[in-house]
């Protein structure tokens, strides 16, 4: 499953600059208010599947966007504090995540063509190309 280093995932919608970074692949959705400590960039919600994981400079794969309106300013806040991820890749997102990411200048995509958990592992080095609407695994973590 993880053998093909050229594997790529298409996304339906995307915005932002092309970026590369280490992947964090989540089984659980995400909200910056519910889940994230906005002073450290670490997921702190007790019981979150990524509890204790830092999102700083990562390319984050989340199946869903949770709740809330907070992302509007929160993404700008964490970008300014230099603890923001390089990119958010959502299975299904909501307008707030998109508004927040565009405002903060963080690359964002949604509507993946297949569940990335089949092809991307946390720690893999990936490239996100919003203009071409795809995400590519460049290097495996091991």
């Amino acid at each position: 499953m993880h053998g093909d280093s050229q594997v790529s995932i298409r996304v339906e919608r995307a915005f932002g600059e092309a970026v590369e970074g280490e992947a964090v692949v989540s089984e659980e959705g995400f909200s910056p208010r519910y889940d994230l400590d906005r002073w450290s960039g670490v997921i702190t919600k007790p019981g979150h599947k990524l509890e204790g994981v830092s999102l700083k400079d990562k390319v984050c794969f989340f199946p869903t966007a949770k709740g809330g309106i907070a992302a509007g300013w929160a993404f700008y806040d964490i970008k300014w504090k230099k603890i923001a991820p390089k990119a958010f890749i959502f299975g299904v997102t909501n307008p707030v995540m998109v508004q927040g990411a565009i405002f903060a200048g963080i690359t964002i995509a949604d509507g993946w063509s297949k569940d990335p958990r089949q092809d991307v592992a946390t720690g893999d080095w990936v490239r996100v190309d919003p203009a071409a609407r795809f995400v590519q695994v460049l290097r495996r973590s091991s």
Partner: protein, 378 residues
């Protein structure tokens, strides 16, 4: 996006730099979602400026907030500090396009009033206020407003917490902004505060922006009309046993019962009245804290009617113009007070305060009052 002559002029800077930047930002958001054009809006609101008034709040943050409020007032923004504007400030009519923030207000506007809004976060709502328009995507379009799946309500739902629990039970397994549940089969007509808690929880647990309630909401005169001719993708049933299982599912940790919160959304006048009845003649347990949040308008009336006095006599702290979960330094407050659990009748706040590392427990309103006054959590 197809732009009008006026919009092209704004982008050319003819209405100033603020409008140019706001519209440029809105075009990017619109293009992401495939919006073909803008729709004019009558009304924009945003509530996610972080408030801090008391409770050891950081003075630097408080200063920033005061500067921000002064700035917004200079822009002719009405600052009402409320997340229940749809109960106290403005009720958009059927089909009215607005650009609202706070998810609970958006889902209420779409579902109960039949108005049209997406979740518009702080910068997006502010941009919409400046340009007087918003990109046409999501719930501005008929296609996204039709029901997606059916939920038969066989439960009694006697308490507001029960309505939040329904929102959790329906929202959690269907986490998607574009997933529109259609409620039907309920034994009576729901009241505004019940739909408020239902909507707030659906938006919170499911990230949902709209629901239908057959016989109660304007786009759902019948089950068939709510689905707009489509077949439901799924049918689920909520019965009393599902709610009881939900309440039993909360871990009680060390049974710490020293923090009880009525907040998220802010309390309506009717909720203030009910809390005053339940707290009348009782006292919050020594060493415990009980917070109620509401807006200035409701609090003024609650004072005049004696509800606020009754609550304060019982030792309840009333916070005006805030919501508990957006208090600054909440994690520090938790540590300083040694709080482990947070008990509330609001399913929304139980869901959203996790990043501050509270163990949260949803309980019915009467149970919350008993816990606040006895310090005993069962």
């Amino acid at each position: 996006m197809q732009l009008t002559a006026e919009e092209r002029a704004i982008l050319a800077g003819e209405r100033g730099e603020a409008a140019r930047r706001a519209l440029e930002y809105q075009v990017k958001v619109g293009e992401f979602w495939g919006a073909e054009r803008f729709v004019p809006i009558t009304n924009a609101r945003c509530f996610d400026f972080e408030h801090c008034r008391r409770l050891g709040q950081d003075e630097g943050e408080a200063t920033k907030e005061r500067e921000l409020i002064a700035c917004l007032r200079r822009m002719d923004v009405i600052t009402t500090d409320t997340c229940i504007n749809y109960q106290t400030v403005y009720q958009p009519h059927f089909g009215e396009h607005v650009a609202w923030g706070d998810t609970g207000t958006v889902i209420y506007a779409n579902s109960v009033f039949g108005a049209r809004s997406n979740f518009e976060s702080g910068p997006a709502a502010l941009a919409a206020a400046i340009t007087g328009r918003t990109p046409e995507y999501g719930f501005h379009l008929d296609a996204h407003r039709r029901g997606g799946f059916a939920v038969e309500l066989r439960a009694r739902l006697d308490d507001l917490a029960d309505w939040g629990m329904v929102g959790k039970l329906v929202g959690e397994p269907h986490q998607s902004y574009f997933s529109v549940p259609v409620f039907h089969g309920f034994h009576r007509t729901p009241i505004a505060d019940e739909l408020k808690h239902l909507g707030a929880a659906l938006a919170s647990y499911g990230s949902m922006g709209m629901f239908h309630f057959v016989g109660a909401t304007p786009e759902a005169p019948t089950l068939e009309a709510a689905f707009g001719g489509r077949a439901p993708a799924e049918r689920m049933v909520i019965a009393d046993a599902d709610l009881e299982r939900g309440y039993a599912g909360y871990g009680l940790g060390g049974r710490d019962a020293r923090l009880v919160v009525f907040s998220g959304p802010q309390q309506s006048l009717l909720e203030m009245k009910r809390l005053a009845q339940l707290f009348d003649g009782r006292k919050v347990q020594e060493g415990s804290s009980c917070f109620v949040t509401t807006n200035g308008a409701v609090l003024a009336q609650a004072r005049a009617l004696g509800y606020a006095g009754t609550l304060e006599a019982a030792g309840v702290t009333i916070l005006q113009g805030v919501c508990f979960y957006i208090l600054q330094n909440l994690s520090l407050m938790r540590v300083k007070n040694g709080w482990q659990n947070l008990v509330s009748n609001s399913a929304k706040i139980v869901n959203i305060i996790g990043a501050h590392r509270f163990n949260t427990i949803l309980r019915r309103t009467q149970d919350c009052v008993d816990i606040a006054c006895t310090g005993i959590l069962k």
